[in-house]
């Protein structure tokens, strides 16, 4: 049975995608930097400290996360993964978006013109119930349907 959650829109766009879930903070630089350095056409998570995501593909996934963590280089990371078309399709935050992710998705949208959907404040229940591989439907008003 589908579950419906409502969040706050940071960057809006209608989309569908497959969930990739991390129940710990998403370390943006640690996750993407090897793919960036290799000039990869698909990003694979290189964060050795994240057992939920390590070595899993990130590109075009709907990443469900509590927040992002780690280096402040993250702003430039989001911009470049958007530019190289290796970004996730969406970032769905259970809590409030953090400053690094907020800055990154704003830059990707306004300076690169390739928005990464971002919706925050979906609630703890969202992160508790969503599982890897589930189909997610995102609407422009911040509604998220987990199928």
């Amino acid at each position: 049975m589908s579950k419906v959650f409502r969040g706050r829109v940071i960057v809006a766009k209608k989309a569908n995608g497959t969930a990739l879930v991390t129940r710990q903070g998403f370390n943006t630089l640690a996750s993407f930097y090897r793919s960036i350095l290799k000039n990869a056409t698909r990003a694979v998570c290189s964060d050795q400290d994240n057992p939920f995501l390590y070595k899993k593909p990130l590109t075009d996934k709907v990443i469900c996360l509590p927040r992002t963590i780690g280096s402040t280089s993250a702003g430039a990371v989001w911009e470049v993964v958007a530019e190289r078309k290796i970004a996730p399709k969406a970032l769905l935050f259970s809590g409030a978006i953090d400053s690094l992710a907020a800055g990154g998705v704003v830059l990707a949208d306004l300076w690169i013109g390739r928005p990464i959907i971002a919706i925050d404040q979906l609630g703890d229940e969202f992160l508790k119930s969503v599982r890897d591989g589930q189909e997610i439907e995102i609407q422009e008003d911040g509604t998220v349907i987990v199928h």
């Binding site: 829109v9 940071i10 960057v11 809006a12 903070g25 370390n27 630089l29 640690a30 993407f32 930097y33 960036i36 350095l37 290799k38 050795q48 400290d49 509590p66 927040r67 992002t68 963590i69 780690g70 280096s71 402040t72 280089s73 993250a74 702003g75 430039a76 990371v77 989001w78 911009e79 470049v80 993964v81 530019e83 409030a96 978006i97 953090d98 400053s99 690094l100 907020a102 800055g103 990154g104 998705v105 704003v106 830059l107 949208d109 306004l110 300076w111 928005p115 971002a118 422009e140």
Partner: protein, 447 residues
């Protein structure tokens, strides 16, 4: 951020939910030029995403993370060129993170060198552009800008828009300045606009602690391990750390400053922590004591066993886990002058005790250009570094290790931050000295 195209039309500010001053409104309407309008629009969107209600003026010089002409680790050249062309400049000269390259002091194979040369082919041009945007000078490249030799030291209460996670947490916690953890590029844009979004660590409420961390170890814990454990647990929250004064004493001495520098860097790298309070030590904790704790604070006790478990969970990413280390890299974040003196003296002593004059592995200590300049003035210790074959570098270890051919090497470090981002293997200071002096039965392999 709906209807981006509509927003571009001059005068349409219907999307703005912030309270803006008249001047900010004029900028946003394009009265101060198209580029500043775009910069301000980006800052306003950022502020709104972060839940800010207004922007506030920035009081002092910036420290920015963007020192590298490498997409993803710094801004795109096209963007920087665009900003320079329009004549935008920060109000105060800024410092930036370390340079990525050091061919002079690091032993590199020609293949390793070629990779760096290819990656950083635009570095010189990039630095010229940074100067046009307000970079202080050629020595302004370090992640420890707040050290006295470097001198980008904000005052207590000063509003800033800094990046570099280790510098942000130091400025907030040890100096009592106020900055959020701004990401690369957004740091620059905020400082070009002269404004920071008012939320989080800029506010009194955002500086209150959600965690009481009780340090109950038998001896002074390793700052890198302690910071890693705290960051991993509290994530983006503010910890109030009790029990460190038992080992470090009250107030801020130089040794305490260096401990907090390294601990803070790991809190930030392994979590998203931008501020900590240390009981009876850091300025706000001295002033407000446990009133800084939120009503519903959580508790985390750190004892010897907790640190042992923390360390045990760190994976070893060397291809051959029993390999003999090839390099030892120390100084992420950059070492202070006192730390530099300590390491050189200790390494020199360990080699002498082990009957060796030079280590079998390359040992490099990293510090700010201005700190290295001061270090070289102390002839006695500087001579020891030369005699012990220790190399000194003002560059960034993390950037060095980004090179895939370097990452393949068995490299040891005492930096938990470096461990988290690279394949370097973490050891405590004393273990590092033992490895350098060849006093371990099977080097790193049996750690």
């Amino acid at each position: 951020m709906k209807n981006q195209k509509d927003e571009n039309s001059l005068g349409d500010l219907s999307w703005v939910r912030l309270h803006l001053t008249k001047e900010e409104e004029r900028i946003l309407r394009g009265k101060r030029g198209k580029m500043l309008q775009k910069v301000m629009k980006t800052v306003v969107h950022y502020a709104q995403a972060c839940g800010a209600k207004k922007l506030v003026p920035i009081d002092g010089a910036a420290h920015l993370v963007i020192s590298q002409a490498f997409p993803g680790l710094g801004p795109r050249m096209e963007m920087v060129e665009e900003l320079v062309r329009t004549g935008l400049r920060t109000k105060w000269p800024f410092t930036v993170d370390p340079r990525p390259l050091d061919f002079e002091n690091m032993a590199l194979s020609s293949r390793q060198k070629r990779i760096f040369q290819k990656w950083y082919r635009n570095q010189d041009d990039f630095e010229k552009l940074l100067k046009k945007l307000g970079l202080r000078n050629n020595s302004a490249f370090t992640c420890t800008c707040y050290l006295p030799e470097v001198g980008n030291i904000p005052r207590k209460g000063e509003v800033l828009a800094w990046s570099e996670s280790s510098a942000v947490i130091f400025a907030n916690s040890v100096l009592g300045a106020r900055t959020n953890r701004n990401g690369a590029i957004m740091d620059l844009l905020c400082n070009l606009s002269g404004r920071a979004p008012y939320f989080g660590l800029l506010t009194d409420d955002g500086r209150r602690a959600g965690w009481l961390v009780e340090v109950r170890t038998s001896t002074l814990p390793d700052p890198q391990l302690l910071g890693g454990a705290i960051g991993k647990r509290v994530q983006e929250d503010v910890p109030f750390i009790a029990g460190l004064d038992k080992f470090l004493g009250r107030g801020l001495k130089r040794k305490t400053r260096d401990f907090l520098k390294d601990m803070g860097a790991c809190c930030a790298a392994l979590g998203a922590c931008g501020l900590f309070h240390a009981e009876n030590i850091t300025p706000e904790a001295v002033e407000r004591k446990r009133d800084l704790l939120k009503k519903d604070f959580r508790r985390y006790v750190i004892d010897d066993e907790e640190l042992r478990k923390t360390r045990k969970a760190y994976p070893v990413l060397w291809m051959d886990k029993r390999a003999k280390p090839k390099r030892c890299l120390i100084g992420c974040p950059h070492l202070s002058l006192e730390q530099l003196n300590w390491w050189v003296t200790k390494i020199h002593g360990a080699l002498r005790d082990g009957g060796k004059s030079r280590p079998d592995i390359e040992v490099v200590l990293f510090a700010a250009p201005e700190v290295l300049k001061e270090f070289r003035k102390n002839q006695r210790v500087f001579d020891k570094s030369i005699a012990s074959g220790i190399k000194l570098s003002p560059s960034c270890i993390e950037s060095f290790m980004n090179n895939p051919l370097v990452a393949e090497e068995p490299i040891i470090t005492n930096s938990n931050k470096l461990r988290a981002y690279t394949t370097a293997r973490f050891f405590l200071d004393q273990e590092i000295l033992d490895i350098i002096a060849d006093r371990r039965s099977n080097k790193a392999g049996r750690a």
